[in-house]
């Protein structure tokens, strides 16, 4: 579904992604793991049109989306739930969710809104509260629900567990597992490698802007290097 070939990303003269290739097939949950600064988030931003691609090719459902502008990528069917949640702080929870459906023109948006409130009951309680006043965990749920409101074909999660309490991290993991069960194609970036590998069908390990290892979630969970460097046992 999503195919990346020899992707390069540079910030000014400094190249941070040195030609990576990866694939996400329909219905799959693929995780990108690796240390801080390994290039996972830059890869996501390049896919979503937030940073320019300096080399290589990104195709989605056979269509070349390399360097498409951000809003066009969303229209193509890729939605990202960004790192740090990035809710619209002064808008109500409800309006944040409606913004998620910005590109849609169908009349099922209210039904989807209802579905999201059912899936995340806390959002119903907070419906008319400014999103900036929600707790970190609630904002994460809002950001996830907002991303789903776009009815994406591919949903990208960038560091969904970052900065959350351990109990909330478990909630987030359970939520992503539920979304995966609905058949959604997911690309997940996580520093919490164990959580990512448990959720993922397949995973890629990033180091210094390159992919150094790939395999199924289980394979990587038991790979000696991964265990030693990333799972810490």
């Amino acid at each position: 579904m999503l195919n990346i070939r020899d992707l390069k990303v540079s910030y000014g003269p400094i190249e941070v992604i040195h030609g990576i290739s990866l694939d996400v097939n329909e219905g799959e949950c693929v995780a990108l793991i690796g240390a801080n600064g390994a290039g996972k988030s830059s890869t996501l931003k390049a896919i979503c049109g937030l940073v320019p691609v300096s080399g290589g090719k990104v195709t989605f459902e056979g269509r070349d989306i390399t360097n498409l502008s951000g809003h066009a990528v969303v229209k193509a069917g890729i939605t990202m739930c960004p790192e740090g949640r990035q809710v619209f702080p002064q808008m109500s929870t409800l309006k944040n969710l409606r913004m998620g459906a910005y590109t849609r023109n169908d009349d099922e948006q209210d039904a989807d809104l209802e579905r999201m409130m059912g899936m995340f009951p806390i959002l119903r309680e907070r419906a008319h509260q400014a999103a900036g006043t929600l707790s970190g965990g609630e904002q994460e749920m809002l950001a996830i629900a907002r991303a789903l409101m776009a009815r994406p074909k591919l949903c990208i999660f960038d560091e969904p567990s970052l900065g959350l309490a351990p109990k909330i991290v478990a909630d987030v993991a359970a939520t992503i597992a539920r979304i995966k069960e609905t058949g959604m194609t997911i690309l997940l970036v996580e520093q919490n490698s164990l959580m990512a590998l448990r959720l993922a069908d397949r995973a890629y390990l990033f180091e210094a802007g390159e992919i150094v290892l790939s395999g199924t979630g289980e394979e990587l969970q038991s790979h000696p290097e991964v265990v030693k460097a990333y799972l810490g046992h």
Partner: protein, 285 residues
């Protein structure tokens, strides 16, 4: 009591003009972080244009206003596209300089096209209403009503339409707005277009209530920014409350103390508000 009501009504008319100017400035500031100084001069261009259409070409007033409004919509797009878009990713000082240069250009064009004479847009609205002891000239009443209508329309547009919500979203978090599928290139154009049209309306109101002359544009934009700071930068409710507070304060000061000191008093009130609420009346701390 009647006297106070009278001054408040007087203040609402000029307050309405301030709100229209401030709404334009605040939405532009909200999404681009630009202090669009040329806004006052562009508004005056709208006023001059209306005057020219009515006085020289014999257009009926409402048609002239409509034409000026449409030209304002287009002018806004051009200003964004030609003046501000090229410096979008540059440091803020560049946009600041562009804004100052644009102000001088528009002032110069106004002078070139319309001369340096003071002009008043002829309206032929001379009736005076008396409502419970408060006298309201017909023109002033229409100005208040038109301003109210435009303010309500703008608020509804921002709160209830998809484009309006996208404008808010870009102001609150530009990157997240892109991820929602908002085209962040067209939003500034729409904002400038609407802002300029509101500015043109304000220019027409100033031109018919008072007069248009060189320099009035700068006076208006200074008041507009005062309203922005009073109400809270980037806040739409702030622009509305701030504009009305400034207008009414000025009118009360002029009515009860001295019209020579009305600006001083209005600004003293503004400073007092900012000492107590540095973020402005409706700003988020």
């Amino acid at each position: 009591m009647i006297e106070i009501l009278q001054q408040i009504v007087n203040g609402l008319a000029i307050g309405g003009v301030y709100v229209l100017i401030a709404l334009g400035l605040t939405t532009v500031f909200g999404i681009l972080g630009i202090a669009h100084f040329a806004h006052g001069s562009v508004s005056m261009f709208g006023g001059y244009l209306t005057f020219f259409l009515v006085a020289s070409l014999g257009f009926p007033l409402l048609l002239a206003i409509l034409v000026a409004l449409l030209i304002g919509l287009v002018l806004g797009v051009l200003i964004e596209w030609l003046a501000y878009r090229p410096v979008r990713n540059a440091s803020h000082i560049n946009a600041f300089i562009v804004a100052l240069g644009l102000t001088m250009m528009v002032e110069g064009l106004n002078l070139e096209f319309f001369g340096h004479e003071q002009v008043v847009i002829p309206t032929n609205l001379s009736r005076i209403f008396d409502i419970g002891g408060v006298t309201i000239p017909e023109l002033r009443l229409y100005v208040i009503m038109a301003a109210a209508l435009l303010i309500v329309a703008m608020t509804l547009f921002v709160e209830k339409t998809k484009t309006g919500q996208a404008i808010r979203a870009v102001a609150e978090n530009r990157d997240a707005a892109i991820l929602m599928g908002v085209n962040v290139k067209t939003i500034p154009m729409i904002v400038f277009s609407i802002s300029t049209a509101l500015g043109v309306c304000a220019g027409v109101m100033v031109g018919s209530l008072f007069a248009i002359a060189p320099g009035i544009g700068q006076w208006l934009v200074v008041k507009g920014f005062a309203v922005l700071i009073l109400g809270g930068l980037g806040s739409i409710p702030g622009a509305i409350v701030g504009g009305l507070v400034l207008g009414v304060t000025e009118a009360l000061a002029a009515g009860f103390i001295s019209s020579a000191y009305k600006d001083v008093i209005a600004f003293v009130v503004m400073i007092a508000v900012l000492l107590l609420r540095p973020q402005g009346l409706m700003g988020k701390s």
